[in-house]
Amino acid sequence: MNGVHDMGGMDGFGKVEPEPNEPMFHTEWEGRVLAMVRAMGAAGAFNIDTSRFYRETLPPLVYLSSSYYQKWLLGLEDLLIDKGYIAASEVAAGHAVEPAKPLKHGKFTLDDVERIMVRGKFGRTAPAPARFKPGDRVRAKNIHPATHTRLPRYARGHVGVVERDLGCHVFPDSAATESGENPQWLYTVVFDGAELWGAEADPTVKISIDAFEPYLEMA
């Protein structure tokens, strides 16, 4: 979706402000939110792409004015309500009222903690041979899906070169809407700065994205 989360190339957000000796969490509740998101995802309430999609669909003003973990909290609430795990009235009351909906992998317990500290695997068996190979000139398609996509707007319509074949992966555009994993080939595609930002761009800059095969066409 063409949301405010797709920030690459936007102007006006000001300077980057690193915080010296930044703590891992700025308040105790941030850690609770992170833990709830990880736990409910691991218990099977949602996949990582769906959770990203819910944060992206927060109203633009909310997205821009909320802190990172506030976005996680709001996205988690919306997602769990939409999928029927909790009711809005329960969150408002602060207590469970409705019966629980069974989780795909059951309750998240202490025994599950270790496995979520290892990154998930997103590689899948390829349903078809790869269409592109390193060195191919490809154009990022001019597409504007209304749902989740990982093709940033700044790359659309532009020509780059395939640098790496990263194998076949879960396709986030499908997984986010729970339409299946629909595995697709994934490539690192490199663009010249001038191709993306015009003739005035810094000639020493190159930008790469990791692009799924359905995002690309031969240039």
Binding site: H5, D6, M7, G8, G9, M10, D11, F13, K15, V16, P18, M24, F25, G31, R32, A35, M40, A43, R52, Y68, Q70, L73, L76, E77, I86, E90, A92, A93, G94, A96, A100, K107, F108, T109, L110, D112, V113, E114, M117, V118, R119, G120, K121, F122, G123, L151, P152, P172, T188, L196, A201, D202, T204, V205, K206, I207, S208, I209, D210, A211
Partner: protein
Amino acid sequence: MTDHHHHHHDHDHSELSETELRVRALETVLTEKGYVDPAALDAIIQAYETKIGPHNGAQVVAKAWSDPVFKRSLLEDATKAVSQLGHVSRVGDHLVAVENTPQRHNMVVCTLCSCYPWEMLGLPPVWYKAAPYRSRAVKDPRGVLADFGVSLPKQTEIRVWDSTAETRFLVLPMRPEGTEGWSEQQLAELVTRDSMIGTGFPKTPGAAS
């Protein structure tokens, strides 16, 4: 003006409490419904606070600086190379290490959200997840580096890696001069988090002592 200021202060304060209450309410609901064990949530937080962090990435970088065979395998397949190191927590799939050279500087961003190599670097800092970095890193990387007080020679190529899929990128910075004969442990102390994102350099031997 004073009234205005007071109003804002109260407003901010109550907003923070609202969030805290909301988080507590959600956790109570999830617990009462039998979805999560609160002790497991404690354990997740504790694991993030103790097990992951830039020290993991620093060990990998220091080893690559000391051991050319490891460096080659790291650049070829970082997931495989790192998983063979017993002392670093398991990294999972899809890790790619990219090497800085005098000709090329690498910098990592996630313009769409906050993708970051957690197992190597810990949880990302606020600036990495915030709009200024996400918006400008791909369009004006030299300007972003200036915000960090970093400047590169004019002719150095800058390669920005936008983490748009599940691939995670670790920058292998250049080994500082004057570190001949240093142990991996000594070298690891020079490796900063930002040097592995590409928004900084490793510490130099003089500055570290």
